[in-house]
Structure formats: C-alpha cells, structure tokens
C-alpha cells in the first residue's frame, strides 16, 4: 500500500496540537484570575495529555484521562466553584507583596523546570531489549489482579474512604448550617 | 417574618449563600403576571413572597361609577375562567335585595351553565397544572374537552369566555333543544374522559410521587388565611358555598362535596378531579329536572336597591367568591367589595412555601389554582 504522502507531517501536526493544548491549558490554569477559566485550562491540558498518551501507546489511558479528568474531576471542580465562590477573591495583599510572591513563584518553578529539563535531556537513556507484552487492556487487567492486586485493593480502599469522608464532611457542614 | 429576623440578626453581612430569585412577572409557572420574590438558599426557599398587582384594574371603583346593569359585564372579567359564577353572585345579590322572583327554568339553566363553567375551569387548571409538572400532553386533552364546553356555551351566550349570560331576574336568552341535547351528550362523553385522566395522570407514579406530601396546608392554616374552595376541601373541611349558604336550586340537587383530608397537593388535585365528576352529576340531574317556562322575571328598567348592605357568596371554581354592596338607594352602588378566592388562597403561599424546594413550591403554587386578574381585580 502506498503510504499517505504527508503522513509524517500530519502526525507531527497532531503532536504539535497536543503539545500546544497541554502548554496553553497549563498556562491558563495557573494564570487566569477567574477560577472557572482555570478549570477550563485544566480541561484543555487533559485533552492535550490524552493525545500525548495516545502517542505513548496507551490509548486506554488516553480515554481514561478524558473520562476521569475531564468528565469527573473538572466537572467536580467547576461544581465546587459554583457552590463556593464565583471568582478568585481580589488580592488583599499589597502590590509589593503580590510582586514578591509572584517573583518567588516564578523563580521556584523556573528552577524546578530548568533542573528537570537538564536531568531529562542530559541523561543517556537506554531502550529495553525486549517487551514482556503489548500493554493492552487485557494485560493491564491481568497485571492489576495478579502482580498489583495489593495496590489495587489499597486504591479501592482509598476511594471508598474518600467517598465516605466526602459524604461525612459534606453532611456535617449541611446539618451545622 | 421569623426567617426575616434570623436573616437580619445573623450579623452585619448578609448571608452570601442566600440569593433573591425574582420569579416573574413573566414566568411560565405563574400563568399570568404574578411575581414571586423568592429568597433562596440553593434550591430551598427561605421566604417566598408573592407580589401581585401587575394587572390591577380597580373593579371596585368601577362598580361605584356605573349602574348595576352596567357593572354586570365586569363580573365576567374578574375571573375569566369562571365568568358564570361571578355573574351569578351579582345577580343573586340584586335579586335578593330587590325581591325579584327568578323563574325556575332560569335557575336551572344557571346551574347547568355554572357547572359546565366549573368543569371547563377545572380542565384549564388540570392542563396548566400538568404543564407546571412537565406533562404537556394532558393539557391538550383537557383543552380538547374544554373546547366542547366552550362550543356549547358559545352557542347559547355568544361568547367563549366572558359570557355575561345572566340577567337580573333571569337570563339573556333561552337555551334551545340543541343545547340540552349537546350537554347531555357531553355528560356521557366526559365520564370516560375523566376515567382516562385517572389512568393517564392521577394513577401515574411520577405524578403521585411529585404531589404526595408536598405543600401541606392544614385546616387550621386555611382558617387563619381564609382559604376556600378546593384548597380548603383538600384540607379536609367540607365547606362549599353551595351547601353552606345555598343559592339558586342547588338545595334540590343531589351532589357530594368531595373532601380529602391530607391537605397536600395531591388532595387538592383529587378534590378538583372529583368535583368535575360531581358537576357532571349536577348537570345530569338539572337537565332531567329542567322545567319549561319563562326565563326572565319582570324587572324594573332601572334597578335601585333599598338602602342597606347586601352580601352574596357563590362557590366559584376557585372557592368562595362574595360581593358586598352598600346601597344608598340610588341606581349606582355606593360601595362594591369583591372578595375573591384566589386572593385569599394566595396569601397562604408565603407560609406554606417556607423551606420548600423550588419545583415543589411551584407545584404548590399550581395547586392553589390562581387566576391573576382574580387576585388583582
């Protein structure tokens, strides 16, 4: 079969879109003054990440990213925004303090970024010689119930505890008011 | 009031969780221009204050400026869905005060048309209420049936809504055989239709769950607020003006006053549904007993009531409608007071809706069966 003429270019384009979504989403998420837009930024990042996961040969994780992050987490956070407060309260601190905190945040995060990129780029990574399996959903399921069954159980417990805790806290708040 | 105090004493800052929702004056659930000022906490209503008056027409002042005969058309326009009853109140008042003997045929026709009007009014309520509850189809079934009543009444009165059919001492014109036949046919047609409504709507589990135990109004509350009609009978009090202060030929007719003691929306709903069946019974009897004879008594050209006060109440579709006239012997009333059922029934909304959720409060509002001009007059 004749390969599609600009297949590489197309793939590259999709990848660029993914990167762009991730970066832009993250920037919106941390920089926007309106919380609701921050959440939308987070959702954008998640879409970008889902695409990236697809590139990383994990389609199941890509879909899960959308299902859980966009469909559940973002929706829940928006719900919290709606219930609690429409917007981020205007900064009560002085201009100088705002500048200081902003600068500090920038320096810290910049340093972290720089260090991590140095680490990632400078290391000589070695690819494995063979693969144990293809990493399909089936393999995932098998691994989840054999090798990682303990972790699976623990995560289930954590989730259960989270649900119960959330119910208790929310209910407590209601009855108090 | 209590809640208002707790809100205001909570501190200098108002509770940020509460907000005011202005429901209306234009809103699908108010069926007219009524505003509800709802102080809400989420979907819970802390205080629901109705704000009427958007279509106030000052009927009482009009009554003081025109003769009794000229005021007669006004009565059809107070509650446009139950025009017959309102006209009946005024003609009964004048007839009693002036000592006019109404021919029996006229009284029977009045009862037949009044009860037809009651059914048509309840059908509008039924459809509109189902619309409030999100069911659209029963509205059109009800309007289909109502159309048959309107056709009957239009043929004898010439109008479909503001009939203006009764006259002091009788009727504007006689009914013909076609009307009697048509009404008889309607009675036989309507009974299975009520059965259909029961199966389609009343028995429906969604509707039952939606109305059961919602918006309870006790008999004591009705007493303090002066509620009447199906609201009162839905609270278990068998109080119907046709029984308590009998007028026209109702005493000679056999009918039951439906009462449901639960006091919730479903009880009010069932009272009205049962009332339609009872109205059919009344119509059936009145048609059988309908005597021949004149339809108009001899009445002076200009009606003047002897000085004094006169009070006349009828059981309108929404409850007790009463007219109080103060006469100073002239042909124009000195003072006309209209006591309308929707007004009194709406006053209890504020107390009854406290702490309810928005959809429940609208179910309650609908179950009061308000006609806005009846409140605003």
């Amino acid at each position: 079969m004749k390969p599609f003429p600009a297949a590489d270019l197309l793939v590259l384009g999709v990848f660029a879109v993914a990167v762009l979504l991730t970066v832009a989403g993250a920037l919106i998420a941390v920089l926007s003054t309106r919380l609701i837009r921050s959440v939308c930024g987070l959702a954008l990042t998640c879409f970008g990440l889902a695409l990236l996961y697809y590139f990383l040969h994990s389609p199941f994780l890509a879909l899960m990213e959308i299902l859980i992050y966009v469909g559940a987490i973002c929706v829940t956070i928006i719900f919290a925004v709606m219930l609690a407060e429409p917007d981020e309260a205007p900064a009560q601190e002085s201009r100088g303090a705002a500048f200081l905190w902003g600068g500090l945040a920038l320096v810290v995060s910049g340093a972290v970024f720089w260090a991590l990129v140095q680490l990632g780029w400078g290391h000589a990574w070695a690819a494995p010689t063979s693969r144990a399996n293809a990493g399909t959903v089936h393999d995932l399921g098998v691994a989840l119930l054999t090798t990682y069954s303990l972790a699976f159980e623990l995560i289930s417990l954590v989730l259960l505890a989270a649900i119960l805790g959330a119910l208790v806290i929310a209910h407590h708040g209601r009855s108090k008011s | 009031m209590l809640l208002e105090q707790t809100i205001s004493t909570r501190g200098t800052e108002p509770a940020p969780e509460t907000f005011v929702l202005n429901l209306g004056p234009q809103h699908p659930a108010t069926h007219g221009v009524l505003r509800l000022k709802l102080t809400m906490d989420g979907e819970y209503i802390l205080r629901g204050e109705p704000v009427p008056g958007y279509i106030h027409r000052m009927h009482e002042k009009m009554g003081e400026n025109r003769t009794y005969a000229q005021f007669l058309p006004n009565t059809s326009r107070i509650d446009y869905l139950a025009a017959m009853h309102y006209t009946h109140a005024l003609v009964a008042l004048v007839e009693r005060a002036a000592g006019i003997e109404v021919p029996p045929r006229a009284e029977y026709v009045r009862v037949i048309t009044s009860e037809l009007n009651r059914i048509s009014s309840h059908l509008v309520w039924f459809g509109a209420y189902l619309l409030d509850l999100g069911g659209f189809t029963p509205l059109l079934y009800a309007f289909d049936d109502r159309e048959k009543i309107l056709d009957l009444l239009e043929a004898i009165t010439g109008a479909r809504l503001t009939y203006g059919y009764y006259r002091f001492g009788g009727l504007a014109n006689d009914v013909d055989a076609a009307f009697v036949e048509g009404t008889r046919a309607f009675v036989t047609y309507m009974q299975p239709r009520l059965d259909l409504y029961r199966k389609l709507v009343t028995d429906n589990i969604i509707l039952r769950k939606r109305l059961e135990d919602i918006g309870p109004i006790s008999a004591e509350m009705c007493r303090r607020y002066g509620a009447s009609g199906p609201v009162l009978r839905g609270a278990g009090v068998a109080c119907d003006v046709r029984r308590t202060e009998p007028y026209s030929v109702y005493p000679s007719l056999d009918f039951a006053v439906p009462v449901f003691p639960e006091g919730d929306c479903l009880a009010r709903y069932r009272v009205r549904m049962e009332e339609m069946a009872q109205s059919l019974r009344i119509i059936d009897q009145a048609l059988t007993q309908l005597p021949e004879g004149p339809i108009q008594a001899k009445v002076p050209r200009v009606i003047k009531l002897p000085p004094g006060e006169y009070y006349s109440a009828v059981e309108a579709a929404r409850g007790r409608f009463a007219i109080r006239v103060v006469s100073d012997g002239k042909d124009i009333p000195y003072r006309v007071k209209l006591r309308t059922p929707s007004f009194a029934n709406l006053t209890l909304f504020e107390e009854a809706s406290q702490g309810m959720m928005l959809p429940d409060a609208l179910a309650l509002l609908g179950s009061l069966d308000l006609v806005i001009p009846d409140i605003d007059r």
């Binding site: 959308i66 299902l67 469909g71 559940a72 | 959720m357």
Partner: protein, 329 residues
C-alpha cells in the same frame, strides 16, 4: 479498503457530521410530529410536504437572529459552550458500527471511547449555564452535574455487566456476537443473566437521564427554570444546544441498539444490514419521544433518589449476579 487512513477518516468525519446534522434537524421534526400525534394535532404542515422543510425554516430563522450575550456573562465561555456541546456526540458516533462494513473507526476500546466523550457533554452545558450568569441557568447547571454524576454510575455498572458477558469492548465484535436471530440479542440473553431485560430498562432510564429527556429534563424544566442553562442563549447558539440534545439521543439510542438489540443483525438471522440498524435505532428514538409526551416531570431529588436508592443497588446486584453466573458456568 484501499483508501489511505487519513482520507478514510476525513470521509467518515464528513459523513458523521452530515448524519448527525441531518438527524438532529429531523429528529426535531420527528419530535414535533410525534408530539402532535400523541396530542391529536397535525403538527407542522405548512413548510414543505407534511412540514418536512420545517427544520430548515427553523434553522434559517435561528441563523438570522442576533446572538445576544448578556452584559454580565463571561463572554468567552458563553460563546465557547455551544461550540463544545456538539463535539462529544460526533466523537461518540465515530465508534458506532452501522453495519458490517460501515463504521468510522473500528476501535478495540470503542465502548470506553463512547463513555469518555459522553462525559464531556455535561461540561459544555454546565459552562454555558455558568457563563450566562443567570440565576436559573446556574441552578440548572448545578442540577445537571448532580444528575449526570448520579446516572453515570448505574449506566457504567450496566455496561460493565454487559462487558463481562461480551468479553470485548469492540462494538463491532459485540454486534457480531449477537448474530443469528433475535433470541441471540443481549436483551434476551437470559443464560448470561436472567435479568437482562431489567438491565436494558436501567440502561434506558439512565439514557433518558443522561440526555436530559423528559421525564428527567431537570436542567431545562421550563415551568421551573424557564429554559435552564440555555435561558440566555438566542439564535443559532440556542439552536446548537437544541441540536446537541437530539445528537445525544441519537448516540444513546445507537449505543442501546448495538449493546442490546444486535446492531445491524436481522431478528430472523438472515438479511442483516444497515436497514435493520436504522429501524431499531428509530424505533428506540420513537420510544424516547413517546415517553416524553406521556409522563410528567419528576422532582429533582426524587430523580437522585431513584438513582442512588434503586438503580445503583439493582445494577450492582445484577453485576454481581452476572459475575457469579459467569464463574459458575
């Protein structure tokens, strides 16, 4: 097929777009005609034969209207929401196999994809409601989240039950398993689970709730919230929300057809094809319309109670029962 993948995808994208667009427009017509018949009216008759051109006239009217943005609204999100709302339906439909040969993408994870993108739908409506800054819209947005969260759970439980029966998430394979007559359809596969019809019932109820159809149309309960999240929308941006509702119904009914009614398989075992799929699909859509025009709306907390106290326990029970039966046999 000897067509390069990107072309094929593009072709199917256009095809799906057209299918969704046409259906969304004509389901409005079906709804209006159906409602009219249930209420013994003729319905739209004026534009075109039997009012068939009515959707086009409606669209033209909506297009010619000004798109108003309330002054208090978050302009960006307010405009973004209608763009976002049609996307999930399009993505979901790409996985649905319409017949043995016709399907945009044969995915092994088709079922997951439907649910992944289906969950975005709520985000768009919520953003629209929130961005309007209208009290009715905000109440509606809050309702729609609680409702979707509550009904996603039993729906997923039902689907997991089915997954255990089918053993695959590939929608095409699921359909192929149901070949050979209606007794092989999953809704009647009583050997796997004697409660299969109940399972479908739960799925159908969740479908109505997830697509905000009466009697579960809490988000746009017109007698309470005027038009809910869409109150402030005018012109075509309202039209898009309107179309999205029907697109979602389409996706939901397609999924039900695939999962429970054997997709394109004929009920007698021979002569399978696209027509069967469409027939089943539109029968289900008719059922959805029929239900809407028969029942009154439920109360909001009753809706949540129904899910938490009835549907979730029952679907969980069915899940366990099915698992047990699979283990035993």
């Amino acid at each position: 097929m000897n067509v390069p993948e990107p072309y094929r995808l593009l072709l199917y994208l256009v095809g799906t777009l057209a299918f969704v667009g046409l259906n969304a427009a004509y389901l409005v017509w079906v709804e209006r005609k159906g409602a009219a018949r249930f209420q013994r009216r003729p319905g739209p008759t004026e534009v075109g034969p039997a009012g068939l051109l009515q959707p086009i006239a409606d669209a033209l009217k909506l297009l010619s209207k000004q798109v108003l943005v309330p002054p208090e609204a978050d302009r960006l999100l307010f405009r973004l929401a209608p763009l976002l709302v049609l996307m999930p339906a399009l993505m979901c439909l790409a996985t649905i196999p319409f017949s043995a040969a016709l399907g945009a993408r044969d995915l092994n994870l088709g079922l997951v994809m439907v649910f992944a993108f289906g969950s975005i739908n709520v985000l768009a409506i919520m953003l629209g409601g929130w961005a309007s800054r209208n009290k009715y819209s905000i109440i509606s947005a809050a309702r729609i989240v609680s409702q979707n969260v509550a009904y996603e759970i039993p729906m997923l439980l039902v689907v997991i039950t089915l997954l255990m029966v089918t053993g695959t998430m590939n929608l095409r394979e699921i359909v192929e398993q149901q070949a050979g007559g209606f007794w092989h359809w999953h809704i009647l596969r009583l050997t796997a689970n004697p409660l299969m019809p109940v399972t479908f019932l739960i799925f159908f109820i969740c479908l109505l709730a997830e697509t905000n159809r009466a009697p579960f149309d809490m988000a746009e309960a017109e007698s309470e919230l005027v038009a809910g999240a869409f109150t402030e929308y005018a012109g075509m941006s309202f039209g898009v929300f309107f179309m999205a509702e029907y697109a979602n119904v389409l996706v939901g009914c397609s999924l039900a057809t695939v999962l429970f009614f054997g997709g394109w398989q004929s009920p007698v075992g021979v002569g399978s094809g696209l027509l069967w799929f469409l027939l089943k699909l539109y029968l289900l859509i008719f059922l959805v319309v029929w239900v809407r025009w028969t029942f009154p709306r439920t109360q909001f907390y009753r809706l949540l109670n129904l899910s938490w106290t009835l549907l979730i326990p029952v679907s969980l029970g069915i899940l366990l029962l099915t698992a047990g039966l699979l283990k035993v046999f």
